[in-house]
C-alpha cells in the first residue's frame, strides 16, 4: 500500500509530525506496518507499506493516520463526510435479494454531470500513490477509496434499464462484459448488481462496460455497499480476478462506512463542479450485525506477554485506536472494537493491540522453565546410521522435487503405473506425485553427466506417494524410501590404483554394510520382475522374507535412451519396514580364549548354482562351532570343465570352552562337503 506522507498528515492533529521521517518509518515497522521502500517526490515522501491480510483498515490514508496518531499520541482528524442535501428529486429503486451476501447497499444520484479531467491537485494525489487518473467522477471514487478505504462504484444511470438496482445472485447463463473488456459467464454463486433485466456489475469486484461512465454521461448512480468477504472472495477466485475493491471486501470492509463514503464522494464532486447531488440518500441495511463487546483482563495480558501493564496505558491506547471502553474496573474492561476492525474477535486480539503499540522491543527476553513431556516422540534413528554409511561409501545426498509425470515414470517402469494427480498443477512437469525416487535421481545423474561429472554416487531419502487400490485418492499411502544411483570407477580417488568400473558387487557390498550397521541381514535374490534393470544383474532385497526393494544395473535399453555412456547401478529400498524394526542394541558376547580354526574347502560346481543358496545350506548344517563362512575365491576359466566354476570357501570353527581337535574340524568339513555334494552336485577339489 502506497501512502503519501503529505496526504496522511491531513488527518493528523497537529499535522506536523513530532518525529523525523526516519523515526516514523521505524515506528511503523515496529507497530506491524513495515515500510518496504520509500520514495521522495518533491516535498512529499511515498511510503510503500506491507499490510498483512488482517488489516484491511490500513489499506487507506485515514487508517494509517489512525495508527500513526495512536503511536505518536496525536489525534485523528477525519475528512468532512456529513450529509449533503440533494437539490433535485430523483427516483431510484434499490432492492437487495440476498442480504446474506450484501448486508448493506447505499446509493445516490448525481445529476448534471460534466465528465472532464480532474483538477491538478487530485490528479497529483492519485499519481503520487500510483493510481492513474481517468476522469473527475472515477477519480473521486478512487480518491475516496485511498482516503477512507471504501470501494465505491459509479454507474451511468441512463444505461440502467428500468432505472433501478437489484442486488441478487446471477442466474445461470447470464453474462457480463467487465470493465477490463472480458465477457464473463456468471453462475448462481456470484453476487451481481443488476438493473431491471441483467447484471451490470460484479458486486464488489468490477463494473460492466455497458454502464461505464463516459463523456456522454449526464446522470450518475453512486454505489457504496458492504459485501460479505466470503462471497466476494469465492467469486473473485472463480473468475481469477483481483481488484482494489475485491481486495478490500475480501479482507473485510467497514459495514458502518458506506454512507460516510458516499457523502464524502458527493462533497468532492460538488467541490469539483462535476455534478449535483440529487434525490434522497438511499441506504438499505437489512443485514446489520451487533458485535459483542470483549472482556479484557489485566491478568490475561500478563499471562500471555509476561509483563504487567498500567490500566491508564491500556485504556488510553485502546481509545486512540478507536476502541470504546464500555466499562472499566480496576482489573478488567469491557471493550467495543471499532467497526473497521473486523480482525478483533477475542481478548488476545486486544492483548496484541496493546503490546504492538507498547513495543515488542520493550518486552524482556526470558527462557521458559523446562516442562518435560511425558514420553519421547518416535524418531527414526536408523536414518542417520544409513546416512553415515552412505556418505562413508562416497554417496552424496540429493534432494529432488516430489513431483513427476506419468510419462517420466512410465519411461522408467516400462509401463504406466497409477499415480496421484495434483488437481491444480502449475506446470505439466509437476502434474503428479512420484511413486519412485528413481525418476528424479536419474535426471540428477544425467544432469551431472552433462556437466562433465563422471564420478557420481547419489542417494536420496524421501517420500513417495502410492495410490490406494480402491481408486479413491484419499486412500493414498506415503512411504519413506532410500534411493541410490552410482556410476564411475570403484576406487576413483586412488590415482595409482587400477581403475575398475563399479560393478554390482560394489553396490551390494555397500548395501550389506549399511544393513549390517542396523543389525539387519538382507537377502539378495535374483529378480526377474524389474523391467528397468539388466535382467542378469538385478536382485530383489528382502528382510525376514519381506520384500523391501531392489538393486541392480540399469537396463541397457534405458541406458541408451538416457544416452548414458557409463554403466549405472541403482537401488531403491522401502525404509518403512526398516524404521519399524527395533533399533539394534549391541550385546557383549564373551570372547573365546580358544583360537578359531580356519579351513579352506575348494570344489567344482555348476555355474548355474547360486552362491546365496549354497551359503544358506551350509549355514543350516547342524554345527554350533561353525562361526563364519567366507567366499575367498571364485575361478572360472578354460582349465575347468565346460559350465563349471571353482569355489573356495573359508570356514571358521570355534568353541567358546575348548580348543577344537583336528579330528572334529575334519569331521565338520566333511559334513559340509557331503552336503554340497548331495545338494549341489559339488565335486571336491584339492
Amino acid at each position: 500500500m502506497r501512502i503519501s506522507l503529505n496526504w496522511l498528515k491531513e488527518y493528523l492533529n497537529p499535522p506536523d509530525l513530532p518525529v523525523l521521517e526516519q523515526e516514523l518509518i521505524h515506528r511503523l515497522t515496529m507497530i506491524g506496518l513495515p515500510v518496504e521502500s520509500t520514495e521522495k517526490q518533491g516535498d512529499d515522501v511515498i511510503l510503500d507499506l506491507e499490510i498483512t491480510t488482517n488489516r484491511p483498515d490500513c489499506l487507506n490514508h485515514l487508517g494509517v493516520a489512525r495508527e500513526v496518531a495512536a503511536q505518536l499520541e496525536l489525534s485523528v482528524q477525519p475528512p468532512e463526510s456529513s450529509h449533503v442535501v440533494g437539490l433535485e428529486m430523483g427516483k431510484v429503486e434499490v432492492s437487495i435479494e440476498n442480504p446474506e451476501e450484501c448486508p448493506r447497499y447505499a446509493a445516490r444520484l448525481v445529476k448534471d454531470v460534466t465528465v472532464a479531467e480532474s483538477p491538478r491537485w487530485l490528479r497529483q494525489r492519485l499519481e503520487a500513490v500510483g493510481q492513474r487518473p481517468i476522469n473527475n467522477l472515477v477519480d473521486v471514487t478512487n480518491y475516496v477509496l485511498l482516503e477512507l478505504g471504501h470501494p465505491l462504484h459509479a454507474f451511468d444511470y441512463h444505461k440502467l434499464q428500468g432505472g433501478c438496482i437489484v442486488v441478487r445472485l446471477a442466474r445461470e447463463g447470464e453474462t457480463l462484459q467487465t470493465l477490463d473488456g472480458i465477457k464473463r459467464a456468471l453462475d448462481a454463486s456470484m453476487l451481481a448488481i443488476c438493473d431491471a433485466s441483467r447484471p451490470v456489475a460484479l458486486a464488489g469486484i468490477m463494473g460492466g462496460t455497458e454502464s461505464e461512465i463516459s463523456t456522454a454521461t449526464r446522470t450518475v448512480l453512486l454505489e457504496s455497499a458492504y459485501f460479505k468477504p466470503f462471497s466476494i472472495r469465492a467469486t473473485a477466485k472463480k473468475l481469477g480476478m483481483r481488484t482494489e475493491a475485491s481486495y478490500r471486501f475480501e479482507r473485510g470492509a467497514d459495514p458502518e462506512i458506506p454512507v460516510k463514503a458516499l457523502n464524502r464522494a458527493c462533497r468532492l464532486i460538488e467541490q469539483l463542479n462535476a455534478g449535483k447531488t440529487a434525490g434522497p440518500l438511499i441506504d438499505l441495511y437489512p443485514g446489520r450485525v451487533e458485535r459483542q463487546p470483549i472482556r479484557l483482563r489485566r491478568q490475561r495480558i500478563k499471562q500471555v506477554i509476561g509483563v504487567s501493564f498500567e490500566p491508564a496505558f491500556v485504556e488510553g491506547l485502546l481509545t486512540l485506536l478507536g476502541f470504546e471502553i464500555v466499562s472499566s474496573q480496576p482489573e478488567e474492561w469491557v471493550v467495543q472494537p471499532p467497526t473497521f476492525r473486523a480482525d478483533i474477535e477475542i481478548e488476545d486480539d486486544l492483548v496484541e493491540e496493546i503490546v504492538r503499540h507498547y513495543g515488542y522491543e520493550r518486552i524482556p527476553s526470558t527462557y521458559p522453565s523446562p516442562g518435560l513431556p511425558e514420553k519421547a516422540l518416535n524418531y527414526p534413528r536408523q536414518e542417520s546410521v544409513l546416512i553415515e554409511g552412505l556418505t562413508a561409501s562416497g554417496f552424496s545426498e540429493a534432494v529432488n522435487y516430489i513431483f513427476s509425470t506419468p510419462v517420466q515414470e512410465a519411461e522408467f517402469w516400462g509401463e504406466s503405473r497409477p499415480m496421484i494427480p495434483i488437481a491444480n498443477p502449475l506446470t505439466e512437469e509437476d502434474s503428479h506425485l512420484r511413486t519412485t525416487l528413481m525418476a528424479g535421481l536419474l535426471t540428477s545423474l544425467r544432469r551431472n553427466f552433462n556437466y562433465g561429472n563422471h564420478e557420481v554416487r547419489l542417494f536420496e531419502i524421501g517420500k513417495v506417494f502410492i495410490p490406494g487400490t480402491s481408486g479413491r485418492l484419499e486412500d493414498f499411502r506415503e512411504s519413506n524410501r532410500l534411493g541410490l544411483v552410482a556410476s564411475g570407477v570403484s576406487y576413483a580417488a586412488y590415482w595409482s590404483a587400477a581403475r575398475d568400473e563399479l560393478n554390482f558387487l560394489n553396490i551390494k557390498g555397500m548395501l550389506e554394510s549399511f544393513f549390517s550397521e542396523l543389525g539387519i541381514e538382507a537377502d539378495f535374490r535374483p529378480a526377474t520382475g524389474f523391467g528397468f534393470l539388466h535382467p542378469g544383474v538385478s536382485a530383489e532385497l528382502s528382510i525376514n522374507e519381506q520384500p523391501v526393494g531392489w538393486a541392480g544395473e540399469l537396463h541397457p535399453r534405458l541406458k541408451d535412451s538416457f544416452k548414458f555412456v557409463q554403466r549405472v547401478f541403482l537401488a531403491e529400498l522401502n525404509l518403512d519396514p526398516v524404521y519399524a524394526l527395533p533399533f539394534p542394541e549391541p550385546f557383549y558376547e564373551p570372547l573365546s580364549r580358544f583360537p578359531a580354526v580356519e579351513r579352506d574347502i575348494s570344489f567344482l560346481i555348476d555355474k548355474t548354482k547360486e552362491y546365496g543358496k549354497l551359503k544358506r545350506a551350509i549355514k543350516s548344517v547342524n554345527c554350533p562351532d561353525l562361526k563364519d563362512i567366507q567366499l575367498i575365491d571364485l575361478y572360472q576359466g578354460s582349465r575347468l570343465p565346460e559350465g563349471k566354476v571353482s569355489l573356495t570357501i573359508r570356514l571358521a570353527f570355534q568353541n567358546p570352552e575348548r580348543t577344537l581337535t583336528q579330528q572334529e574340524v575334519n569331521q565338520y568339513c566333511e559334513s559340509v562337503l557331503a552336503l554340497l555334494r548331495s545338494r549341489f552336485a559339488a565335486e571336491g577339489r584339492s
Binding site: 499471562q303 526470558t366 552424496s396 509437476d430 506415503e478
Partner: protein, 366 residues
C-alpha cells in the same frame, strides 16, 4: 630440540665412515703377526657377505687361521705355551671385537641404503578416501535441530500429503480465510493437499499428547509457486512449538534469541516486529541484523540492515481449543522458518534452484 634432531639424522641417515681400529701402544708391541694381517683385510670388507667370509677365514672351527694357530700350540714347549696361548687369546678376543664392531657398521650402512631406496615423494597426492556429503539442507537442518535439542526440544515429523483440516482449519484458517491466498496450495482433492507449512504437525502432536509440548518439526512444504531464484514449489521449513502453563511472549523472545545467536553468531541482534499469522496472537516477524554487513546495509539485506528469518507468535487460543487444551491454563508460542532460506544466508547461496539440481560439484562443497 634441534640438537636431538641433528643427532637423529646423523645416526640414521649419514653414512658411517670406516675408521681403523685404535690400538694402544702396549697392544701393538705385543701383537700377534696375524693381527696386522687381519686389520688390513678387515678394512676392505664393505658388505655383509665379505664380512662372513672374513669371519670364517679367521674363526672357522676347522680351518680358521686363528683356530689353526691354536692347534699349533701343542707343538710348543711347556715354557713357551702359556705366553703364546695368552697372546692367541688376546688376538681372538680382539678379532671378535673388531668383527662385531664392523658388523654394526655394515648393518647401519645397509639400513641406510634400504631407507634411501624406500624414500618416496611425500608431496604426491594422498589416497583420499572418497566420502560423500549430506545435502546442505540436511546439514543446516541438523545444526538447527541440535541447537533446539540442547534446549530440550524433541523432533516431530508428519505427513507431506495433508488434510485441509490440519493444514488450515485447525490452524484458525477456515475455508474462505484470506490468509489461504498467501499460501497458494497444490490440491489433490478438495480436502487433501500438499502441506503448505509444517504447522499441521503442531496440531497432530498436541492431539496426541497433553502439555507440556516442546517440539521442532522439520520437513518439506509445498506451494503453487513457479520456480525462480527465490521461489520453488517445494522447500523446507522448521516449525517450533512450546506449550505449557506460564509460557509468555517474553519466553518466545528469549528462546528464539538464544537460538538465532547460536545459529548465526553471539553478536547477532534479533528484533521482533508485529505481524500476522492466523494461528498466533500476538504475531511477530523475527528479523536479525544482517549477517553480511552487521546492519550497515548491503545487497543481501536490501540496504536496510535487517533480514527476515522467521514468523512467530503466541499460539492462538482457538488453535489450543481445537486440540482440547484449555487456553485459560495453557499458553504457548510457535514459530516457523525456511530451512532453505537459512541455508542460503549461512552458505551465501544466491539461487534456490541449485539445491535441487544435485550437481556433485555443488554437493561436495558441504
Amino acid at each position: 630440540m634441534k640438537k636431538g634432531r641433528a643427532f637423529f639424522i646423523s645416526s640414521l641417515f649419514l653414512p658411517v665412515r670406516l675408521s681403523p681400529l685404535k690400538m694402544t701402544t702396549a697392544m701393538l708391541e705385543n701383537a700377534h703377526p696375524l693381527w696386522e694381517q687381519f686389520r688390513q683385510e678387515l678394512q676392505s670388507v664393505s658388505s655383509l657377505g665379505q664380512w662372513t667370509q672374513l669371519r670364517d677365514r679367521y674363526l672357522s672351527r676347522q680351518r680358521g687361521l686363528i683356530t689353526l694357530e691354536v692347534k699349533k700350540l701343542g707343538r710348543l714347549s711347556a715354557e713357551e705355551r702359556p705366553s703364546a696361548g695368552q697372546r692367541l687369546n688376546v688376538l681372538k678376543v680382539q678379532v671378535e671385537k673388531a668383527l662385531e664392531n664392523h658388523y654394526q657398521l655394515l648393518k647401519e650402512q645397509e639400513r641406510f641404503r634400504q631407507l634411501q631406496s624406500e624414500r618416496i615423494d611425500v608431496t604426491l597426492p594422498g589416497y583420499y578416501p572418497r566420502r560423500g556429503r549430506i545435502h546442505p539442507l540436511r546439514r543446516i537442518q541438523r545444526e538447527m535441530e541440535e541447537i533446539f535439542m540442547r534446549m530440550g526440544f524433541q523432533v516431530a515429523l508428519g505427513p507431506e500429503l495433508e488434510w485441509d483440516y490440519y493444514n488450515f482449519e485447525a490452524l484458525n484458517m477456515p475455508p474462505g480465510h484470506p490468509a489461504r491466498d498467501t499460501q497458494d496450495t497444490l490440491y489433490i482433492t478438495e480436502n487433501l493437499l500438499l502441506r503448505t507449512h509444517t504447522s499441521p504437525v503442531q496440531i497432530r502432536t498436541m492431539q496426541q499428547q497433553p502439555p507440556p509440548v516442546r517440539i521442532v518439526v522439520p520437513g518439506k512444504v509445498f506451494r503453487r509457486d513457479a520456480v525462480d531464484a527465490t521461489h520453488s514449489p517445494m522447500f523446507h521449513q522448521m516449525e517450533g512449538l512450546v506449550v505449557d502453563a506460564g509460557i509468555t511472549f517474553a519466553d518466545l523472545k528469549g528462546t528464539l534469541e538464544a537460538f538465532l545467536k547460536e545459529l548465526f553468531s553471539p553478536q547477532t541482534r534479533v528484533r521482533f516486529q508485529p505481524s500476522y499469522f492466523p494461528f498466533v496472537e500476538p504475531g511477530a516477524e523475527v528479523v536479525i541484523s544482517c549477517i553480511f554487513c552487521s546492519g550497515t546495509g548491503c545487497r543481501v539485506c536490501k540496504q536496510n540492515g535487517w533480514i527476515e528469518v522467521m514468523g512467530a507468535g503466541m499460539v492462538h487460543p482457538k488453535v489450543l481449543q481445537k486440540v482440547g487444551y484449555d487456553p485459560e491454563t495453557y499458553t504457548g508460542f510457535a514459530w516457523g522458518m525456511g530451512i532453505d532460506r537459512i541455508a542460503m544466508l549461512k552458505y551465501q547461496i544466491d539461487d534456490l534452484r541449485i539445491f535441487f539440481e544435485n550437481d556433485v560439484r555443488f554437493l561436495s562443497q558441504f
